[in-house]
Amino acid sequence: MTHVPPFRLPRGGRLIDRSDQLGFRFDGRHLRGLRGDTLASALLANGQMMMGRSFKYHRPRGPVASGAEEPNALLGLGQGGRFEPNQRATTTALVPGMVTRSQNCWPSLDADIGAVNDWLSPLLPAGFYYKTFIHPRPFWKHVFEPVIRRSAGLGKAPTDPDPDLYEQAYGFADVVVVGGGIAGLQAARDAAAGGGSVTVLEQSPHWGGRTPIDHAGGQDAIDALLTDLRAMPGVTLRRNCMATGLYDHGYLIAREALADHDPNQGIPRQRLWRIRAGRVITATGALERPLSFACNDVPGVMLASAMRDFIDLHGVAPGQRIVVVTNNDDAYRTALIAADAGLDVAAIVDARPQATGDLPQAVRDRGIEVLTGSAIAKVKGRRHVEAVAICDQDGEGKITRTVECDAVAMSGGWSPVVHLYSHCGGKLTWDDAQALFRPDPDRPPLGADGQGIAQAVGAANGDLCCAGDLERPEGATMPVWVMPARAPHKLRAKMWLDYQNDVKVTDVELAAREGYASVEHTKRYTTLGMATDQGKLSNINGLAVLSGALDQPIPATGTTTFRPPYTPLTLATIAADARGEAFQPLRKTPMHGWHEAKGASWEPVGHWRRPYAYPQGAEDREAAVAREILAVRKGVGTLDASTLGKIVVKGPDAGRFMDMMYTNMMSTLKVGRCRYGLMCNENGFLMDDGVVARLSDDTWLCHTTTGGADRIHAHMEDWLQCEWWDWKVFTANLTEQYAQIAVAGPQARTLLERLNGSIDLSADALPFMAWAEGDLAGIPARIFRISFSGELSFEIAVPAARGLELWEKLHDAGADLGITPYGTEAMHVMRAEKGFIMIGDETDGTIIPQDLGLDWAISKKKADYIGKRAQRRLHMVDGTRWKLVGLQSLDGQVLPDGAYAATDQVNANGQRVTEGRVTSSYRSPTLDRPVAMGLVRHGPARMGQVLEFPMPSGAVMKARIVDPVFYDKEGSRLNG
């Protein structure tokens, strides 16, 4: 047996299937709707008019609209990772088993504690927070803000990961038509007739927009257009596809709902379209405006068009006895449709002095009373409409009669949807005759060629009186911004403009009195238009009220800025499949798999993953690092250095170029030798360092930091291409072409000699800072005698494809020597023990090489290098700059990285003046005590002095200024 809920009309409803009942839950209650319902229509059919509470006063609210502009009927949908807050019930299709809940109320929608705010509303005017919570100052942070934060915000963010799939797609079209109503479909047909590709995007699941509802024969006209379009080559029709933003040069973003209603099909739930459109036609229609009369927010008061939609599309009666209030002819259609559905239309309250067109006549012919020159003084009822008090529009609200009713259909006229047109620079013009802003065809957004890229058609262009080829003769609209015209404060204080944020006519008027003359300022002060509907419903009403209060015409006030997205996009849709492992590419060295198999603990460095350490068994990371360091210091270890940047600079002018890139003199470097080089930017600051090897007369190989490879290569190309383009130099980034292995420790030479290479590794043949080429264990290799650990060290570069082979041969050959792979942390600690700087630790983009005592690496002979002029500036040669020193903590504890040294002086803010900071700090396993480096004012001249480092706990750590080289000061080990 079919169960018909009390508010479902016995017939009608062009979108619903009465044979297909769907169960769903609302706040725990089991309800039933029909296939084709929206969540809003299903709730209405169950008699559930109240669907939420307002944000500030917690007033009971029902749906006021039937589309994307809905501010009240926002629900939480789904459960777990699929929970989504703030979903508009009016645009959400009902799905079997749907779980929904109301928001912004506690303990329940019916009995909400926060509703007390409504009684306090005279005490909570616009700007209340700004005015009230200023003093005493500490109260904001500790008392006011935590309380306000708890009560603020609609809905709750889900905490579980989103289990659904999302994807992105790229589209290209000569013309994109946004809006599948009659104007859009006709524009698409016209565009396609000229050839080329045409894509039509419609936000809803249905074509035709309002035409099938508002016009006899409307559906036939739509069907005919669709038939034509489907037969035309080059035409693509997409429903459920919301164009959310138009950006520079015709870049259009749209969200297509693929499986919103059944996310278990294994296909993406939504698809983000990134479309390059040659031209965009906005056929986005218009949105009806509410009227500002007292208590226009009581559940049961809704837009006339929304009421028409619920009756005609879903066969749902929003009420049994309806009053229509309007300033235009269009709302009379609602009266006719309601009457056709068998509902009682108690009266039409028309603010205009006269209503004489075809539509009013048709209504009068049904015997419906039309009260012209009239207004609603007040809606009676709290949780639902009980009656309306009628008064004269041209008056102060003196009640002439009261009409009992349970629903009010209101229409304050229509506002074209101009968002897409405005998103990237299109301007609007005020149409005084129709009292609306519409796109100015003379000032469209422009494309790369300087021509307009967007054009509005139909209602989106303010063309309200005809629907495509269908005539819509209507009488003129009379602007009504406040109802009645001279309503006293008591009534205006109950006229809602922004429903969700509880902004009323009096709030905007107060803002104007307090000097908020700019509409952008008034918006932020009152929060008008800052709700989730972003002012779609009521911004025009609000700025009309502001204009009235400022006594200036509406175009002088202007609109707030229209920003994308038109409707909210979930972050998952924007991220699409760029999440988890696919979030960014992972770069792997040839030895990555070996490290993985050995249980490496990873450190992300750029897109690389480098082994931080190789913990064994129950060992923690710290213990592993200490073990690795001692193994290198006493025996031999290997580091995968393949991630280091390797840039070849080659050509007749390469030496000259190298001298400009580096602070050092690189042109004099001998073939076969290496030099540690510093690279500064034009502002003088140290940006990268590394060992440079001269490979041949005209070829240099530049090693960069792991993170710097691409950046430094780009830096070189910038100067080569844009400054010295006549210099004969090529650069090539060969980072991934070579695997590189550092073999370090007193046994390093012993180990390498076991591998039967062609290269003489003796200290005489291959001294420190030399390199040689040959083969090692049958693999072509370049061996660099360089050291970042302070030990005897060889860095071996081999073709990437043979890196793992060499690594494994080293470990086979060195087993009896205790060969140990070591990670980045052991490398960091060892270089700090040795006093070597690290880009990113000792530098932060404001450090020049001179700060780090690296003057020896700055050529005095060169006329120029990048950064030389900058380093001569007053502040750079100022003797008070903080300079690099070693720091030895007095109590044997490790200084916190980044800790500041403070003097006894205080600055103007009462803060202690600082005189240095810690840049690197470790416990040294080699020395069995802490080592640290830092930058200190006059540091090198203050050896032996003790600095104080105040800790957040209030304690003070002390450290002595010492030489930064803690280990093997003479360099006998590294030179060995």
Binding site: L446, E682, Q721
Partner: protein
């Protein structure tokens, strides 16, 4: 998102393929420059409301630098040309002047 045609490889590149390098045709001030000259070169960049000559690198394409002449207000692109020049080529100047007759490349970006 802008579309600019790389004059080196001819590809119509989207902004995500490109890297912006700021004002074009800067004259480098070397070690002999005064403090004022160096400050002007290093920091005083034009930020015009109108026609701008700016450097772009086809970073995820051919890797070459080029210069785009475009309007920062209307986003109209008057043309792109290789970075290996100290002044905009004639055909670019003509293209800009076709739309902005008063434009003078030597006063490019003079504030309005």
């Amino acid at each position: 998102m802008l579309i600019l045609t790389c004059p080196h490889c001819g590809i119509q590149a989207e902004e995500t393929e490109l890297h912006n390098g700021g004002e074009a045709h800067l004259k480098r001030v070397g070690p002999d420059g005064s403090d004022e000259e160096f400050e002007g070169y290093m920091f005083a960049r034009r930020n015009p409301r109108g026609v701008h000559l700016e450097r772009w690198r086809h970073a995820y394409g051919c890797g070459k630098w080029f210069i785009a002449a475009r309007c920062t207000v209307t986003l109209q692109v008057f043309g792109t040309y290789a970075a290996q020049t100290t002044t905009p080529p004639d055909h670019i100047v003509q293209a800009v002047r076709a739309a902005r007759p008063d434009w003078n490349p030597t006063e490019e970006g003079a504030s309005e």
